[in-house]
Amino acid sequence: MLFKISLSNIRKSIKDYAVYFFTLVLGVAIFYVFNAIETQTAFIKMNETQREIINILTQAVSGVSVFVAIVLGLLIVYASRFLMKRRNKEFALYMMLGMSKWRISALLLCETVIIGIGSLVVGILIGTGLSQVMSAVVANMFEADMNDYRFTVSASAITKTIIYFGIMYVVVMLRSGVVISKCRLITLMNSGRRSEKITMKNPWLCVIVFLISAAVLGWAYYMVGWDYAHLNSKKMLLAIALGAVSTFFIFWSVAGMLLRVIMSAKGIYHRGLNSFTFRQISSKVNTTVASMTVICLMLFVTICTLSTAFTIRNSLNKGVEDNFPADFYGYFALYLHDSDDLDRYGTGDIDDVYAQQNMSIYDDFGECCHFHDYADGRLTLDDLLGDRREEMTADSVSVYAMMDFDISFLKLSDYNALMKLYGMKQIELADGEYAICANASGMPEIYDKFLEDSPEITSFGKSFKPSSKKCIRNSFYPDMQPSNTGAIIVPDSAVSEEYRGIDYFVGNYSATDKKGKEAAEKTARENWDYTMRLYQGDGYMRHLETRIEAANDAVGIGAIVTFLGIYIGFIFLVSCGAILALKELSESADSLPRYTMLRKLGVEEKEITKSIFRQSGIFFLLPLLLACLHSYVGMRFGKVGLSMIVGSGYTKPILFTAGVLIMIYGGYFLLTFLGSKAIVKEQK
């Protein structure tokens, strides 16, 4: 009997529950898909590095899953509380008919169980389907072989999903039980009668509050997005807190402010249904200030997370392509005992290291280039730029511009040999000339400014003039990202071997195909490690990077970042969409008499649809707009923070993010609009 009542209840309020159910299914599916990655990829052929990356990814996902579960849990509690409120009258009827509170609680329990099991089953089914797609995505990312792939269902992920969501549902049941046991019949009965009183705020107060919040927000923006040179963690926290608080007050006042503004334009306000539409929106926004704030902040986090994740991934992949033009790169240097600085390294020769084991590094490579950099004492960026440093680095948004580092010299012949190896443009220098090469973000521009009035520099007892007013935009060594903060190239005759610094080796394997290169790399790496380990001599540093390794790392880090970004982003978007949709749909149901009224007044169906579209549109757009503004500033700041690793543009990632946003958030909007239209149309 109880089961029957609850089933029919669900069927009756299916419109209210549809969005709730849809959200639960989406939540379950996303949760399953990401937690099933490990099992899904078990059948894909991968190398060890890739396997390790998958392991890291799995661990990260299960960590993030706890957070995701909390977010979803809060969403579910919010949604169920919301739906219960709408059914107060129904509960009142049950009580009047003599049903005990226990039985009502049991009824609710029944409903939650039905919805819970339903959403889990449907969600896991959809999730299983989606995770096959996910496997293909992973395989594609790692360029792995999918021939052995089979349709897989992850038992561990299913168990995990059931446990996590089970806990959430139990919390919801307990909560609704407590709520029912506490409520009183008279309040339940009265809650059905919608109070005519509507929270109307003083419009002028709204305008003032809005202006103040906008100003405060602007100041917080300025601190984070423009004045970051003076930013410290305390100021940062203050800016975040101010941002959140002013966001709240902007939503508190925006409706009243807009209304005030539009009302003063009588021609617009009293045209068609405009007055009705704007009043509807303002009453909706005024009663949803807290949720709006939370949604706006969540959207902000989502936009930043997603676009940053995509940016990192793109620039990592592109970075290796552009900045790693050789197969193998290593350097070696001895610890300098006679130096005053503790961290000074210099001299040393890789050839000697290999020779000690009667080997030669040249055996492992086809084309290669072995060279040193040179230094006469210590030249840092500060020394080079001198008094004008502040002025030259002032407009730069790069982190590099705020740091100080050593600048070394290269011989022209070494540089040209390297460029030949990389397939890049060689340069010419006359006697007594120099050139600067750099590509770390922001640095070339700083050197351009430095070179503007052809400053002479003095080193190795000689002075040099710049050969060009432009800094060469490249790096003399391969790396995953553009990281060359600057090197000065001088004619060979200018330096002698006594100034030798770090010893570099850059080479390509003689093999041309992928397999051959992998084999060659194995040997080269083994030999490098072997000789270095056995090197006799105290204190040295060495470093090795290869193109294959860099590419794998790039893909791996990129994959982890993207997956986590999408995971959190999806969940956040679903939560935001669900809250707004629930609110808007229930508002529409409550407003039904108003629409009936409008119809009696002879308003066209088209006008009503237009009004509904505008209402849901603005309702969804408001938090999104502010979130976009937040994100713009957030990403401006992020650009500075990420300039160490991010070189490529932001356009594509932002388009990606917009795509995801439109898909999920836009999907919820469409669902809401169509749902509202149906609710309003329903009875004539």
Binding site: K266, Y269, R271, S275, R279, S282, K600, G602
Partner: protein
């Protein structure tokens, strides 16, 4: 020619096996400037009749003409346009938009006709003066008394200068003092503004303000009395007599 003509209106509910004749062959006409009350017990079909006239409901058979238009054949946009421009509604439960001020509620009826803003302002202020609600124009419905709300609703109904004002139990939710005030306003609108009003009520006192009362019983026209030159008190007594004739729950409604 009469403003409104009803020719053999029928409205059936249900199906073949279980048929309810809510309106059973009713014909009458209303002249321009008339104030007509339709009386009847609950379930007599008076509200159904009004709904048919107001095009909210469709007739099963018969024709309704407003001037030259057969409104039973109107559909979709034309129907909405007709409702918007030719009719004014007043309901028992006011049906004001609780999110709008009184001013905006009245203006809404004009703005959905896409009238220019300055014209709207003038019209709203004029009608507010006529109904004595100028001082509540900036208030929201929840800040007004029932009588004020109903007068705002009446203002909304007549601000568009409709051919016909339809009122469904306008005094149903009002106390006697507010009722009297509202009905006096109706009289004023009828006499001074020459508004044609059809009002459905089951209250003899309310009906006594009309110039003509139609009685409906079980979906049929039962009786009709015209006030003529008699005073409201005399007319009221006449109505009571008919109501007594009608018997049943009508007398309970008194």
């Amino acid at each position: 020619m009469s403003l409104l003509r009803l020719n053999n209106i029928e409205k059936y509910y249900g199906n073949r096996s279980n048929l309810t004749k809510a309106v059973d062959d009713i014909s009458f006409s209303v002249e321009k400037g008339e104030f007509t009350a339709i009386m009847g017990a609950s379930g007599s079909g008076k509200t159904t009749l009004l709904n048919c006239i107001s095009t909210i409901d469709r007739v099963t058979a018969g024709h309704i003409f407003l001037e030259d238009t057969d409104i039973t054949t109107l559909k979709g946009k034309a129907l909405n346009k007709f409702r918007r421009e030719k009719l004014g509604f007043i309901f028992q439960d006011f049906n004001l938009m609780d999110t709008l001020t009184a001013y905006e509620n009245i203006a809404l009826a004009l703005s959905i006709q896409k009238r220019p803003a300055n014209e709207i302002d003038k019209a709203v202020k004029t009608v507010a003066e006529q109904l004595g609600i100028t001082d509540v124009l900036s208030k929201y419905p929840y800040q007004m008394s029932g009588g004020q709300k109903q007068r705002v609703a009446s203002a909304r109904a007549i601000v568009t200068e409709p051919k016909l004002v339809l009122a469904d139990e306008p005094t149903g939710a009002l106390d006697s003092k507010s009722s009297k005030m509202l009905l006096e306003r109706f009289n004023y609108l009828n006499k001074e503004q020459n508004a044609t009003i059809i009002m459905v009520t089951h209250d003899s006192f309310t009906a006594s303000y009309a110039s003509r009362v139609l009685f409906i019983k079980d979906g049929k026209l039962f009786n009709e009395i015209i006030r003529g030159e008699s005073s409201r008190k005399e007319f009221f007594d006449k109505i009571i007599n008919v109501v007594t004739l009608l018997g049943g729950d009508m007398s309970d409604a008194l």
